[in-house]
């Protein structure tokens, strides 16, 4: 049953989600003046105005102020006649009635619905992580929302009666991009930080073992220990279990502080710590879509029009979608989808055909960039051009197919990163030596003895020979007008005159 509406009534667009994808979609719609003909409602379950989620680790590290994360203030929505509802969690989508119901019972009808529900953090199977009531253990932190970030910031700055930090040690569970950023941020705050990663090297989804090892070494230099090939299996309160007989205490740098919790690994080690931060990846948030009977595999399945393959009036974008068998979890593809979806909602003939992804680590003194899917492209037969310098701590790899950079992984040295990503994004056809040249450091020209016909003063057009023929700086100035323009050649002129006099016996002062 569909509610019958006069044709002249504005189209009602309801967007579920208020994250970066949804915000971008609204901006793109506003840029197209869609609000003239559409009545837009945005339902965000977080209490905050939309913010730049990917800068949460920068907020944690202290390089960004919290206010600088806000993408749009509530007034902006009002100015454009958009109904923004914060703290509005959607309970159900009724496709037959074309409406959504919020947890408070409010029902909102739609003509078109956009699901931008994002992703939810994966909870690793660690016993003791979740309490009986379903909430996280107080020492355990997720790192997905601004609220999570604020709670962690509170925890790392909490002090006791003596002004001492309460929480001085942290274990980050998960050695992916987010885990590294969070670990680096905590390290930069002076928290003793360790990373536990189940795979045998860091960033295992993106980079190979050699690069991963270099990264682990970089982390170590920055004061963060790394345990790879180990999974956390059990969390206990140290007060609950004062005796940990039979376990080995590893690398405890603060023997006087036993830590508030103990995290047991499957290799038998136990890490004493005050905080556990879960960054073990996320998965598309699809519960709502699934309940509504939409086709969901890894994510909510959409076609090239970003519409659900089950219901053409329901669109989706961002982390929650699966397009062409892929889910992404990055902002740039979500934004590209936002541009395309805004066009589709405004009846432009556009379609989405996938995105190129550059994953860039956002953390001070950690240089990592991953272009596309290097491991996958190698399996597909791409040629690998690789440059490894473990002495310097760099490992760089480009995967080339048909002369184009189809993927890459750069660790420890991002020289020419801007150029490499340009070639990757634009799929420039390179020459045979070019991928190698891109990984080499540019040689600086050695100073040479200037030939007499070399121009020294560009402004006045004076050659080295003409300067050498002069008796002094003032003479050169008067007779050749060298140095009288921009003055940039003054030192070169002095140098030439000095060299010349050193060659002549009487020239020695």
């Amino acid at each position: 049953m569909t509610s019958s509406r006069p044709d002249s009534a504005p189209r009602r667009l309801v967007i579920v989600g208020n994250g970066m994808a949804a915000t971008r979609l609204v901006e793109e719609l506003v840029a197209r003046r869609a609000t003239d003909t559409m009545q837009i409602t945005v339902l965000g379950d977080e209490p905050n105005a939309p913010y730049n989620r990917i800068l949460l680790s920068a907020l944690l590290e202290g390089t960004h102020r919290p206010e600088a994360l806000t993408l749009r203030c509530e007034e902006w929505y009002a100015e454009h006649g958009i109904d923004l509802r914060l703290g509005a969690r959607v309970l159900e989508v009724e496709r037959d009635l074309k409406d959504v119901m919020l947890v408070d019972g409010t029902i909102i009808e739609y003509d078109a619905l956009v699901l931008a529900t994002g992703s939810i953090p994966t909870l690793p199977p660690i016993r003791g992580l979740v309490r009986m009531d379903g909430s996280l253990h107080e020492s355990v932190h997720a790192f997905r929302s601004l609220n999570d970030c604020e709670r962690l910031l509170e925890a790392v700055s909490a002090t006791d009666a003596d002004g001492e930090l309460v929480n001085r040690r942290a274990v980050v569970v998960g050695g992916g991009l987010l885990g590294l950023q969070v670990a680096r941020a905590l390290g930069a705050r002076g928290i003793d930080t360790e990373i536990v990663e189940g795979a045998d090297h860091l960033l295992s989804q993106q980079i190979g073992e050699a690069a991963g090892k270099i990264l682990a070494r970089d982390m170590k230099k920055l004061g963060v220990s790394v345990y790879t090939g180990a999974r956390a299996i059990k969390l206990t309160d140290t007060s609950d279990a004062p005796s940990l007989a039979g376990t080995v205490k590893v690398l405890d740098p603060l023997p006087t502080n036993p830590g508030r919790v103990a995290l047991r690994l499957d290799n038998g080690f136990t890490l004493d710590t005050d905080l556990v931060i879960l960054t073990a990846g996320g998965k598309p948030s699809t519960a709502l879509a699934r309940r509504a009977g939409l086709d969901v595999r890894r994510g909510l399945v959409v076609d090239d029009r970003l519409a659900s393959v089950t219901d053409p009036d329901i669109y989706a974008l961002g982390d929650c979608v699966e397009h062409d068998g892929r889910v992404t979890g990055f902002v740039p593809p979500a934004w590209e989808q936002a541009g395309v979806l805004a066009g589709i909602l405004c009846d432009e003939s556009v379609k989405y055909d996938g995105s190129r992804i550059v994953a860039r680590l956002r953390a001070t003194d950690l240089d990592v960039a991953v272009l596309g899917d290097p491991e996958g492209e190698v399996l597909k037969g791409g040629d690998v051009v690789e440059m490894s310098n473990p002495v310097r701590g760099s490992h760089r790899k480009l995967v080339i197919r048909d002369g184009r950079i189809v993927a890459g992984a750069l660790v420890g040295d991002l020289n020419r990163i801007g150029l490499i990503t340009q070639h990757y994004d634009r799929q420039t056809v390179l020459g045979p030596t070019e991928p190698g040249d891109l990984l080499l450091v540019e040689r600086s020209a050695k100073p040479v003895q200037l030939p007499d016909d070399a121009e020294v003063c560009n402004c006045a057009g004076v050659t080295a020979g003409a300067i050498r023929a002069c008796t002094s700086f003032d003479d050169a100035r008067e007779t050749t007008r060298a140095t009288t323009g921009c003055g940039g050649c003054s030192s070169a002129v002095r140098q030439l005159l000095a060299e010349r006099s050193s060659l002549t016996p009487e020239g020695i002062k």
């Binding site: 206010e67 070019e434 009288t484 323009g485």
Partner: protein, 699 residues
Amino acid sequence: MTETGGERVTRTHCPYCSLQCGMTLQKQGRTALEVLPWAEFPVNEGGLCRKGWTAAELRGHRERLTSPMIRDRATGELRAADWDEALDLIATKIQDLQGAHGADAVAIFGGGGLTNEKAYQLGKFARVALRTSQIDYNGRWCMSSAASAGNQAFGIDRGLPFPLADIEQADVVVLVGSNMAETMPPAARHLDRLRERGGKVVAVDPRKTPTADRADLFLQPVPGTDLALALGALHLIDAAGAVDEDYVAARTTGFDKVRRSVASWWPERVERVTGIHTDELRQLVELMTTNEKVVILTARGAEQHSQGTATVLGWINVALALGLPGKDNAGYGCLTGQGNGQGGREHGQKADQLPGYRMIDDPAAREHVAKVWGVTPESLPGKGKSAYELLESLGSAESGGGGGPRALLVFGSNIVVSAPRATHITARLESLDLLVVCDMVMSETAAFADVVLPVTQWAEESGTMTNLEGRVILREQATTPPAGVRSDLDVIAGLADRLGSPVPFGTDVEEIFAELGRASAGGKADYSGITYDRIRAEHGVFWPCPTQPDGTIHPGTPRMFADSFATPDGKARFLVVEHVGAAEQPDATFPLHLTTGRVLAQYQSGAQTRRVKSLPDDGPFVELHPMLANRIGAHDGDPVMVRTRRGEMKAPAKVVTTIRPDTVFIPFHWVGANRLTNDALDPSSRMPEFKVCAAEVTA
């Protein structure tokens, strides 16, 4: 001119760029001139580049035109004619065309190298004698984006709101798209002094130019991404809490929206768009936030884009957030390009403006100016088309034109070389019923004309210019022009008379300047308190310089914005701008960025400098990186072919490591480069996108 005894010495200014370096001309014999320093003039302190030193060589040049030329109907060749015949012919043709097709059938195209007096007379001539709305000038292709941005943000457009030498006392100077060491070499002395004092220079340019060689920090962005860089810089400034909140609250409006808009320009995103490493962006921001006195200067590199105005606004937002404009030795400025790029845009040469930087659609402005001119406000035409749009509309549709004006009078411009998408524009010129070109040599544009009028050049006439600082200076006549040559002002007066203008047009420059002053009085660019004598006595006078109601002398305004901005509420405006990028992006067929610019020894379309023997003229070249040269099999010195969607040209390869490997550079002083450039226009300034388009290069 001092001509007592053997001295025969004139203090004047260089004929070329907006620096308008002071120089001394000494007469040698009857007509020859020697260029000598004028050490006291503060902008260049006696320094000149080789263009200035050799400026007098064009005098007595064998290619100098000394007789009007008329295209013979029978042979199609130009033949010499006398002035009356030429002017009569032009006037008759104009009257015929206007009689048949209306006043707008005749258009005027001026130049940013013309004196203030000429620019003023030209605007008045168009509106009063021709009564056409169709007048614009090549300054549109110079600094118009910065002009538009300045008007929007500060309520006024003066290239530099402070004397250039002020930058010596700054802590940091950020140059966005300026190659001042090559394009205005004596200006670079101020950078050197700054560095001697321990100040830092930042250069942003796709090429590591001689200016970038002087920089402490060099950022090499993808052409057309300077705006993304500005957004990224403001993002980090805000993230670090380095915004000058007190200044923003007291002296600006609109920051909140701008602040939100840059929240989505985090460094890694900026890196992906601009090709600039996040560390380098952080270094730039560190320099700007840890120093008090920061100067941000833009030039053509940032401005000649379809997003030129937005790009400048982006950098102005950075300057305002840091609380710079109005502070001593700090702020934002534009390094204007053409000799009178500043003055040329203030006196009515622009399609939408009347003298004093008044807008032609403002009834009060029309009334004021009409009164000075002795005509009725209703008689003044309205807004015309901008430079490129005007040229594109030329010629009757039947003869392959754009359906716009059928006659064009060109003063001080060489359109065939300098217009973007030049082949197309040249065809439009050919479709005209009448093309009149005033020039001193047979320029590429003059060669297409129906009538060529030989005019006086610098040193043979007097007149004021307004340099990049807003300093009104006086170029004095130093010698007599060759026989047969007349001033542009004589041409205007002669035509106005023949066309039955309701008011006469004089030719006395000082009288015209005084009238210009009255016309500008009360306008934004108020010249009414400036006289030739004051200019001589004070090394130039900075506008605004009004006449004071109490009769006291206004000192002029070297530094602006100390207390308020020229907006109605006195506050500077933050404006939200979004990066869109170049109109034409590289693709599989045209995989490279092409950018254009200048070389030291040449000036603009080269009509003058290419004829000066002492200036090397090796012709155009294609600058490319060794990686690209290897890719396409090009060798240094061998010709390569450059193609775009609009044209192609062949020129020798110049293989250098100083350019981005995804970009090629061609200087535009010769016919060729602008056959390739894109005519996409900035929506606000109508600036064509000279600085970037997609190209293919083959060996």
